[in-house]
């Protein structure tokens, strides 16, 4: 079931929560709506569900205009952030509820419910009430309830926010596994970029109700369309520097010193029209230098985070804070002076005014 949004707009009084959004979600794919709080991702999800009526634009399910169709009739399954399980019903009755509403005969309904419970892994919890389950178990009941009526699309509104870190990873893998097993078109809303990166077929990055970029996870990471996209994806976040062209020489402007940079020829050419720009350097594009490189950053270590697999450093250089990743065994300490070299093949350049990538 392909979902297509055409100029979808949602206004609440003075605020435009969703602004002329037009995208197509291909059948069978898991698309994540990603963005900071208030960017309109949950609102868009609710519009697709039919719980909100749009101020403008249309929604199509496989070329059928469903903009005016009530949620009860849209044949969708939805998982809410706080699960919204019916507290007065047992787990089994929770899962049976949508089937009951669609008047599925009792025997068949029971069979389907048990099949679904097995799929999500809760078949021995059927007699319990939601209050007797842990967060992860409640989440799986919610998923089972959403899928039991074999909907055409599955909507998930930040389903993992209320789970602890380890459970979050396990559950998102489960969701991906189930989604691929059934092949259902899925829309997943989250503000966690790592979640989005790990399970999506495509990511829709949103800000202030507008689409910033819609592409595969690796695409958004390697070729972000604008500064916002580059900053949002990637942990630790990208380092951004000012760049200016001074007498034809491209320099990185750090708050105290000005430093000369050496950039590869093809970048020099594309920067020909720009006198001011941003440089985005991901932490993994910085590495320790032994001083023999043509260009290096000199700074003092202010923070060392050893996270096991690698070590993150925060370095103060020229008045700015820079983050980099170095191999975990390296002997570095706070207050050390170090030199960093930049891998210019990985650097991203952004227009100073618009933030668009050059």
């Amino acid at each position: 079931m392909e979902v297509r949004l055409k100029d979808l707009t949602m206004r609440f009084d003075e605020v435009t929560a969703v602004d002329q959004l037009s995208i197509t979600i291909e059948a069978g794919k898991l698309v994540t709506f990603l963005g900071p709080s208030g960017c309109g991702k949950s609102t868009t999800l609710f519009l697709v569900a039919g719980l909100y009526k749009p101020s403008g634009g249309q929604i199509f399910f496989n070329e059928k205009d469903v903009t005016a169709v009530e949620p009860e009739n849209r044949d969708i399954g939805m998982v809410f952030q706080n699960y919204a399980l019916y507290p007065h019903l047992t787990v089994l009755n929770n899962i049976l509820f949508p089937l009951k509403m669609h008047r599925v005969p009792k025997k068949e309904a029971l069979l389907r419910a048990q099949e679904m419970a097995k799929l999500v892994g809760i078949e021995d919890l059927l007699k319990r009430k939601p209050s007797q389950l842990s967060g992860g178990q409640q989440q799986r009941v919610a998923i089972a309830r959403a899928l039991v009526k074999k909907p055409v699309i599955l909507l998930l509104d930040e389903p993992l926010s209320n789970l602890d870190a380890r459970l979050r990873i396990e559950t998102r893998e489960e969701i991906r596994r189930i989604q691929q097993e059934i092949g259902i078109t899925t829309i997943f809303v989250t503000h966690d970029q790592e979640e989005a990166m790990s399970i999506s077929d495509r990511i829709l990055l949103m800000k202030d109700g507008q689409s910033q970029q819609y592409s595969t996870p690796q695409d958004i990471y390697d070729y972000p369309k604008n500064l916002f996209a580059s900053r949002f994806l990637g942990s630790p976040p990208i380092n951004v520097f000012h760049g200016i062209k001074d007498d034809g020489i491209i320099k990185m402007h750090l708050s105290e010193d000005e430093v000369r940079t050496v950039v590869p020829k093809h970048i020099e050419e594309s920067l020909a029209d720009y006198s001011r720009f941003y440089l985005g350097v991901r932490p993994e594009a910085l590495s320790l230098s032994n001083g023999n490189d043509e260009f290096h950053l000199k700074g003092k270590v202010t923070l060392v985070e050893r996270i096991g697999r690698e070590t993150l450093l925060k370095i103060k250089t020229g008045g700015e804070s820079v983050r980099c990743i170095i191999p975990s065994g390296t002997d570095v300490d706070v207050e050390d002076s170090i030199l960093l070299k930049i891998n210019f093949h990985k650097v991203l350049f952004f227009d100073f005014e618009s933030g668009e990538r050059i």
Binding site: L51, E72, Y86, R145
Partner: protein, 297 residues
């Protein structure tokens, strides 16, 4: 801050609540105990407040008194007439009020007004509405084509009139309580039910009512207790009489009649005792049902 209770802090605690405790004891607990004691007075000089004998005679009297049984019968009819209908209508109105956003405060005030108005004043107005010749109700009836009804003077209709008045008066309080309960229901449950395919009527029965069950439980207990104690409405609506031909002769009216008109304090107290037992049993019954049926979140 948790501190272990010492003797001194306990005494201080009691001193703090002493004023309220005294008032409660004197004006609530003492009268109840005294009236229960009174129900056993078989020989009592109320002028000099001297008790000569105690026994169960009062109870024998009331159980053999046809008036007592009439009063009980009327009261039960009243309770079963008022409570279910009142709760149902209040619930529906509360649900409707909950779904409108414009003028909600205005409507709430309108519905709550009867509750803060004196029962006597309400009864006076309803006497006029119920007037067989000039009353608004009969005007409407004759306009539509029915024959007029003698609401307040016809013994067959008097109880109905009383029930209508009581339902009308009780709506406000019940609506406000239900509104509070409704607003505590998480909206996401309605969204989930909508997505599961439930129409608004089915959402009402499968989501609203179960999640409102603690509130319904509370309202039901309060309404039953309050309905059993009906007196002011009767007294005011029927001009101090218990309805035409005793058709609205309720148990509290019986009690009032016995002590205020006939000075039979022992008998009145015995009736009070019986009423207490009845109300307590019904409340316990409701609590029992509540344990099984009420879903607390």
């Amino acid at each position: 801050m948790e501190q272990k209770a010492t003797l001194l802090s306990t005494i201080r605690g009691y001193l703090y609540i002493l004023p309220a405790l005294i008032i409660l004891m004197v004006f609530h607990v003492y009268p109840i105990l005294k009236s229960l004691d009174m129900s056993f007075y078989t020989s009592f000089n109320f002028i000099h407040n001297v008790v000569y004998a105690r026994g169960l005679d009062n109870f024998y009297y009331i159980f053999n008194d046809s008036e007592f049984w009439l009063a009980l019968r009327n009261t039960f009819i009243f309770v079963f007439g008022v409570v279910p209908i009142s709760i149902s209508i209040s619930l529906v109105i509360a649900v409707m009020l909950n779904s409108i956003s414009a003028f909600s405060k205005l409507f709430r005030s309108i519905y709550f007004t009867p509750f803060v108005t004196s029962t006597v004043a309400i009864a006076m107005v309803w006497r006029w509405i119920y007037h067989s010749r000039y009353g608004v109700l009969n005007n409407i009836l004759t306009y539509v084509g029915f024959s007029p009804v003698a609401w307040v003077t016809d013994p067959d209709w008097a109880m109905v009139s009383l029930i209508i008045l009581s339902i009308w008066q009780s709506l406000g309080y019940n609506i406000i309580i239900f509104l509070a309960g409704l607003q505590n229901i998480n909206k996401q449950h309605y969204y989930a039910a909508q997505i599961d395919g439930a129409s608004s009527l089915r959402r009402f029965f499968h989501i609203t009512i179960p999640m409102l069950s603690p509130t319904i439980f509370f309202v039901s207990i309060m309404s039953v207790i309050s309905a059993f104690k009906v007196f002011e409405e009767v007294y005011a609506l029927f001009d101090k009489r218990p309805g035409p031909l005793y058709s609205c002769y309720t148990i509290v009216y019986y009690i009032y009649d016995k002590f205020a008109n006939k000075y039979q304090y022992g008998i009145a107290s015995a009736a009070v005792f019986v009423l207490l037992i009845i109300i307590m049993s019904l409340t316990l019954l409701q609590l029992y049902i509540g344990k099984r049926k009420v879903y607390y979140t």
